[in-house]
Assembly symmetry: C3
Homo-oligomer: 209 residues x 3
């Protein structure tokens, strides 16, 4: 029995890692786009593809969840974790979509900074998620990761507030403010979703300690 | 025992169908309003009434849920389904409320198109919900419905993106952009809620297959 | 055993009351700020401190929830209640943060009115929460409280709609509209969160009656 259950359990951990990897890839593309605003269409298509693939992964998790009676974690926690990881990619996709839709001419320094913070948050999220399978052996490693994610999220908060302040200080064009405010808020939400992942991991570890 | 439980079970299905019917009626009124922008006050009052009645239905479901120990579905799923169905009506109500509040002079072609897509989504949602009671006998019918809802939601996404694009292309008045952007996003959210219903139905069917 | 569990149970009720008290304090500071727009920095720092302390309380509840196997309420309800109470403070904090970020020169009459309604909602929420520990003995008292919260939320809805209407009637400056619309919506959301608390309390009472 143990042998039959083990692969199922590991499958969930593998799928979470896939989702976190997708978040890193999408965040990397956003960084590329904001640092080097060329070849935009291809970069956006690449993000769209990652988002589509991540949807498939999330759907696979949902299906497995309903078929697996004994899971290593609470069903609710698996569901919440998969949703939060998927949301990171969704908000990155929405960010690049809006940049195209709003016919952005040139990225601001603030969007480049926010994208770079998001990439770091996604990388640390991936580290945290990869430690979920072994947290009972190495409880300190995962804890360090989620503390670091909270720290990065705070950095994101400060950068996002500064970005909004710059917008209202410099822009006299309300339409520009509407566009950039939404773009900044999408990136901020993507970073928030990394923190949501950290919180869910913390819950899981607490319940299983 | 079976006889005593059956009516209770069917009651939930009936109440979900009532909620879905309310969504169709509200969506139909939004279509009427966007196609024929006259007699606005009466149409808005009619939507308000539907929203109020739908609240009562949602409340009835919540009460029954707490009193019914054995339900045909997971308590969580019943709660999520009732909430998503109620949200459709809430967002339609918020849409017409905003049109009045913002003293809209003339509906755009885009709002008429979005309303029409929403109406189709609501109708298909109602079909899907009505098949919940019998999905064990006819598993393919409900699946076809939720695939169709996903397709309509995609159509809504494209229409919504086009509407926003038109807004920024044509409008030079930022205040107009603020108004219409919010109205379009409310309709898009109402359509998204139809897709949420489809996803919850999919979960319920998966769990009970 | 009963003796060991009792203190744990009461601890949750105490922590909810602490959260509700924090909401009142934060709402009181927002009222002060909107009535008397001086000494702004100190008032904002005071709200930030309350928000930070409320975060600690919410975290304590989450930790206790995972360590307590037998709780007086459903784990899900405790979690939802703690989250909704925390959200009230979060949205008040976000409101004052935005007022500073947007370099608001003078509060409007509408923000003062909304803040005053929020304070009443927070006070009634605190009364309702304090009755949770004894609702079996006094079922009518808590019910009266949540009916009153619903009434205040309706009042908030009307005031919020009027505030938005005034904004679009009077302002010709779209940038002012963007700023105030967001500030008003934050206060409205804080009031909505009081109503969410009332709904969760209603669920808890229904389940335990």
């Amino acid at each position: 029995m143990g042998l039959r259950l083990l692969p199922r359990e590991e499958k969930f951990f593998d799928l979470f890692c896939e989702q976190a990897e997708a978040a890193i890839e999408a965040a990397q593309l956003l960084v590329d786009l904001t640092n080097n605003f060329t070849d935009i269409d291809n970069k956006v298509i690449a993000v769209n593809k990652i988002e589509h693939q991540a949807d498939v992964t999330a759907h696979t998790i949902a299906e497995k969840l309903n078929l697996t009676f004994i899971t290593p974690l609470d069903q609710e926690d698996i569901h919440d974790l998969a949703t939060a990881l998927d949301d990171i990619v969704d908000y990155i996709d929405a960010t690049v979509e809006r940049m195209v839709l709003y016919k952005i001419k040139q990225p601001t320094d603030d969007i480049a900074k926010l994208a770079e913070i998001l990439l770091r948050a996604a990388k640390e999220t991936s580290i945290a998620v990869s430690q979920l399978a072994t947290f009972k052996k190495k409880p300190r490693a995962i804890k360090q990761s989620w503390i670091e994610i909270h720290r990065i999220e705070n950095e994101g908060d400060t950068a996002s507030r500064a970005a909004i302040a710059h917008l209202f200080e410099n822009a006299t064009d309300a339409i520009e403010i509407i566009k950039w405010k939404e773009i900044y808020e999408h990136v901020e939400t993507a970073i928030d979703k990394c923190e949501d992942v950290a919180k869910i991991l913390e819950q899981i570890v607490l319940k299983n300690s």
